[in-house]
């Protein structure tokens, strides 16, 4: 049984289709990255899964429970993109209140609250009012409150976007550790986070799911391979020699480096491996570096969403 399954999940706001027939299956104990530019429909999808908005059509099941069933809330954890708390409560009080909603006994609740505060690095601020918390501290408290019930499925909407680099590393490491006990559905627009922690990635743009695949498969399938060639002199002549070749997609000069670097995207790597050095040699250019680079998720992403990000 998949941890998350949805069929043709659609949400319309008037004429705007925020989510367009999303069909998806996320296996248990995996970290699923839901990737897309701002306004792609990521938050809408998460809110539909949590029952905080009603779908216009379609259905979804979380851990086998149909979305909208009260039982679901016992099993899921949720961190919204901008978590909001009662400013008059302390961080610890908020976790105790959450534990109370899950009907944990007061002893268990206190233990769980302290354990989670330590886990997200808020032990020192536990007795301070949330009203005085920084954006990053609220985000950490948001993660803690989503874990109170040891959820079977955890929805994190942009979990690290408000954090500084250290906080970000901590939270991503935490997500990796959580994988053993829960399934994580994480929406983000930050590609490097997906590359770091996600097993599978779904790319969404303008409400539509563009593709779902493992990160490795995605790199193999979508992005053309790229050769980086560094020369001592201007690569213009070389570009004109490479571009007409049938195995080439694009050859361009990358401007932002001291030495002119030539990036050559190819369709057929094996042909290019043999042909490219020959062309360089024939051109008489002084070669400094020649490298076959793996495509980054960013290349794939930009290609799939057409530069919308």
């Amino acid at each position: 049984m998949p941890a998350i399954r949805c069929e043709n999940l659609t949400k319309q706001y008037g004429p705007v289709v925020a989510l367009d027939h999303l069909s998806l299956e996320v296996p248990t104990h995996s970290v699923f990255g839901f990737l897309g530019p701002n306004g792609a429909g990521k938050t809408t999808a998460v809110r539909l899964f949590m029952g905080l908005a009603q779908p216009s059509s379609g259905q979804a099941w979380i851990d086998g429970v149909a979305v909208g069933m009260p039982k679901l809330k016992e099993r899921a954890g949720y961190l919204p993109d901008v978590p909001a708390f009662y400013g008059w409560m302390t961080g610890r009080e908020y976790l105790l209140f959450t534990a109370d909603l899950f009907r944990l006994s007061s002893t268990v609740a206190r233990e769980r609250a302290d354990e989670l505060l330590a886990l997200v690095g808020l032990a020192g601020a536990a007795k301070r009012k949330v009203g005085g918390y920084s954006r990053g501290m609220r985000q950490r408290l948001g993660i803690a409150q989503a874990l109170v019930n040891r959820p079977r499925v955890l929805f994190l909407d942009e979990p690290v976007s408000a954090l500084d680099p250290i906080g970000r590393r901590d939270v991503l490491e935490l997500i990796l550790r959580l994988k053993d006990e829960t399934t994580v559905f994480m929406s983000t627009h930050i590609l490097s986070d997906v590359e770091r922690v996600c097993d599978t990635v779904g790319i969404i743009n303008k409400g539509k799911l563009v593709t779902v695949s493992s990160v490795i498969q995605l790199q193999a399938r979508y992005a053309p391979s790229v050769f980086e060639i560094e020369l001592e002199d201007d690569p213009a002549r070389l570009i004109s020699a490479i571009e007409p070749q049938p195995w080439v997609i694009r050859a361009e000069k990358v401007a932002d480096t001291q030495m002119p670097v030539l990036r050559v995207q190819v369709k057929d790597v094996s042909t290019a491996k043999k042909a490219l050095p020959q062309i360089i040699a024939t051109s008489g250019a002084a070669l400094l570096r020649y490298e076959l680079v793996m495509p980054s998720l960013e290349d794939i992403f930009l290609e799939l969403v057409g530069g919308a990000a």
Binding site: R47, M50, G51, L52, A53, Q54, P70, K73, E74, A76, Y78, P80, V82, P83, A84, F85, Y86, W88, M89, F97, T98, D100, L101, F102, R103, G142, Q145, N149
Partner: protein
Amino acid sequence: MKGLAALLKKELKEQVRTNRIIIVAGVFLFFGLATPLMYRYLPELLALAGDDMGSILPPPTAMGAMAEYASTMVQFGVLVIVLVAMGAISRERESGTAALVLSKPAGYTAFVVAKFKAIGATTLIGTILGGLACWGYTYILFEEAPVWGFFCQNALLLLYLLLTIAMTLLFSSLFRRQLTAGALGLVSIIVLSIASGLPWFGKYLPGELVSWGNYLLVDEPTSAAWGAVAVTLVFIILSLYLAGTILQKKEI
């Protein structure tokens, strides 16, 4: 109603921590003390100001002071309660705090009912303090103060205020802007109170609670308005039920 106990505990704490209870109790206490005093010395104050209206006014009585307090609270009490209740749900939706709570095992109706009970408790405390202050001060100033009639009048006033809370919460779940919720809560309670002047069915409307209270205070024979009491209770339950149902359908 899932999570009612936890939600109620939180709401009651909120009433205390955000000083709502102090504000409400303060307003009731102020009018409880000020009304008998103003009422007792109004003729003299007017005379001092050189106005001979004072001689036309009937001599102030304990009953008059207490009736004056009740009619003041029907206005100012309602206003304060609307101000406290109008943002209760809309502000939580607007700020996002509701989204976190309602993604937990907390029912929508429980969410509304917990707020009703907590604001109701604050109102109860305010009514008791204001009533005691008014009764005590009236007794000091007039050397008499009816107990039973005044108690009944305040109980009916409390019921009227509870209806105000329920209706304001209904509008607070309907609208994201708390001012809209407050304005509509206020307008609907005013309309209901005006409508109680209408022939034959008017006496079954909540506004009738206020005039029945006045009769009970002066111990004058009148037909009991149990019908209005029943209708008010139905309105309260209906408002809370609708608020919960609407909230469930709304975007949180």
